[in-house]
């Protein structure tokens, strides 16, 4: 059964079909939500909130072929809602264990992963969302913009500034004590 048929069945109330669809996307959505929110429990809340909205509103989805993009939007809008409810307070860093390194030199990988983790942590969360959706999920910038509900130019500008701020963190501040994160990749 292809994805469209599964969506159509789920739209008619078949929860088993929805479970298959949900399972196909949950790992990457959970990973992306953890990268954006920097907190396992908040990521769980965002994914759960997005999935409940998806199941409840699935019969109103006009084009079943848009299910994946629609689900992404619901989950990442939940991430943004959570960030806004929390008032952008800094969240504790959560390092995850290495599983199956994708690049050859493991020691370099560990060092780079930690640098990246720190650079991401210092970004404003809504900027971090643009970086995660673009680089982790491979979304083109117009899709990132549509998913987060911001203009494409704003997504482009946020990505550009995020990368500049991350370079600064990695190349200049990497041996310095961790600064307090403020808005938009700036540091105290």
């Amino acid at each position: 059964m292809n994805q469209r048929e599964l969506v159509e069945r789920a739209q008619r109330g078949d929860h088993d079909a929805f479970a298959v669809l949900a399972g196909a996307f949950v790992a990457r959505l959970d990973g992306a939500a953890r990268l954006i929110l920097r907190d396992r429990e908040l990521a769980r809340d965002a994914v759960q909130e997005g999935y409940i909205r998806a199941w409840r509103n699935l019969p109103t989805l006009k084009d079943p072929d848009r299910f994946e993009a629609w689900l992404h939007r619901l989950v990442f809008r939940s991430c943004v809602d959570i960030l806004r409810r929390r008032g952008r307070r800094p969240i504790e860093v959560e390092l995850t264990p290495i599983e199956g390194p994708a690049i050859a030199d493991v020691s370099t990988l560990v060092a780079d992963r930690e640098l990246l983790d720190e650079a991401l942590r210092r970004l404003d969360p809504e900027w971090r969302a643009v970086v995660v959706l673009h680089f982790y999920l491979g979304m083109p910038l117009p899709t990132v913009a549509a998913t987060l509900g911001i203009p494409t130019g704003t997504a482009k500008s946020r990505l550009h500034r995020s990368l500049a701020a991350m370079r600064l963190t990695i190349d200049v501040d990497r041996d310095e004590p961790v600064a307090t994160p403020l808005r938009q990749g700036q540091y105290s």
């Binding site: 399972g23 990268l35 509103n57 019969p59 806004r84 990695i170 190349d171």
Partner: protein, 420 residues
């Protein structure tokens, strides 16, 4: 290679490693949770209640042509040809650079990089700049006599100027990276662009006569701009400073001296979206996305005084948003995109606020959202629907005389302004 170079090169792999994605242990609980939730009936969707069928109905064709009328039409055509020959022998009248004008040709570029023109009825498109070069984004000058477009080159884009019929193309000096915005000066003697200069998004003025270009010393990044009728610029400026990046609308003279903030700048990029000046150059319309209750709301600000007012639109619900506003050529109305849920429509509202009128087909949101442009006479709005790949001429009065064009466009065509 620095650490940041190395990391940026492997960013997707490193992020995948950092995310360490697997099926989360809460997945079963999540499914139990959703199973307890009742689904919303399909009929409750807003999308089902918008007049999609009405607006998408094909325009009725003409009845049979009677032979007597055909003869009359032929006589009329001959008279028109004689009149055109007479008018053509007189000096051409030019439109005023701002405000209402007559509708001339529409210009667009094809996917394979050629420039086309088509008359205002949308019939009989004609390729006017062809060849192996990849050309895009034709923009007619304010006097309607020339067009400017971009041409792909090694290391970036070049700006090419040609006559309105595509003849005599001339490449202006310079190759520009990250080219993003372009506008003609009021007297059509200069073109201003935004591109990256030494890594900074900057405003550069290119004389059409081929003289050297000038990058304006504004001391900040420029992300959007327009010429005003008096030759000044309004622009969205971004300043990087220690501790904060600030955003704001600025006005500056033609040489870029003494840029002045129209409103106090802020550290939030979503305070400054989609600006567009009025035809008289006195005000700007823009939209904001502010927490908690200004998600997609229009504002009008007086450029001289900084007096800012929200544009109150009757019947707006909490979930509705408005964006990308644009003044009508006579300055009495504002066209924008009105959205909610997964749909959006081109909408027109009086400049003082009040009732809004939505036009044409229902579009999507984000990258599927339609874009619109007023015709020079203000009676029509060209609207492109990327998800449908359709171009429409919408009746700006809202009377429903909308028409779909069958042109192979990839984006919104631009209009030539001619004397009314």
């Amino acid at each position: 290679m620095t650490a940041s170079d190395r990391i940026q090169r492997h960013l997707p792999e490193l992020m995948a490693d950092l995310a360490s994605a697997g099926v989360p242990d809460y997945f079963d609980d999540l499914l139990q949770e959703t199973a307890r939730v009742r689904q919303r009936p399909a009929w409750s969707s807003l999308e089902r209640w918008l007049p999609v069928d009405t607006t998408l109905a094909p325009v009725a064709g003409r009845a049979r042509l009677w032979s007597g009328l055909a003869i009359l039409a032929l006589v009329g055509l001959l008279a028109a040809a004689a009149l055109l020959a007479y008018v053509g022998s007189r000096p051409t009248r030019l439109p005023a650079p701002f405000g209402p004008a007559g509708n001339g040709l529409m210009y667009y570029s094809s996917a394979d990089g050629d420039i086309y023109s088509v008359d205002s009825s949308g019939l009989a498109p004609k390729s006017i700049v062809t060849g192996p070069e990849v050309d895009a984004g034709p923009l007619p000058s304010r006097d309607g006599r020339r067009i400017a477009f971009t041409r792909k080159a090694v290391g970036g884009d070049q700006v090419v100027v040609a006559e309105a019929d595509g003849s005599g193309p001339r490449t202006l000096p310079g190759t520009w990276t990250d080219f993003s915005e372009i506008d003609w000066s009021p007297d059509s003697s200069r073109i201003a662009i935004v591109s990256s200069v030494a890594g900074v998004p900057s405003l550069t003025v290119l004389p059409v006569n081929g003289s050297p270009s000038t990058t304006l010393p504004l001391g900040m990044e420029v992300h959007d701009f327009w010429y005003l009728p008096d030759g000044r610029f309004v622009f969205l400026g971004v300043k990087d400073a220690v501790g904060a990046t600030t955003y704001g609308f600025f006005v500056t003279d033609a040489g870029g001296a003494n840029p002045r903030a129209i409103l106090p700048p802020s550290t939030v990029d979503l305070d400054w979206l989609g600006m567009s000046p009025s035809p008289d150059g006195r005000s700007l319309v823009y939209h904001v996305w502010r927490d908690p209750d200004e998600h997609g709301r229009l504002h009008v600000v007086d450029i001289a005084t900084g007096t800012d007012r929200p544009l109150v639109i009757d019947g707006t619900t909490v979930d509705e948003w408005y964006e990308n506003p644009q003044f009508s050529p006579d300055g009495t109305h504002i066209m924008c995109l009105r959205g909610g849920g997964e749909v959006s429509r081109i909408t027109v509202v009086p400049v003082s606020g009040g009732p809004a009128v939505s036009l044409g087909p229902v579009g999507g949101v984000g990258e599927a959202a339609p874009s619109g442009l007023y015709s020079p006479d203000g009676k029509t709005i060209t609207a492109y629907y990327p998800a449908l790949k359709e171009l429409w001429l919408l009746d700006a009065s809202g009377n429903g005389n909308d028409r779909k064009l069958t042109l192979p466009v990839n984006d919104l065509p631009t209009w030539q302004r001619v004397a009314p």
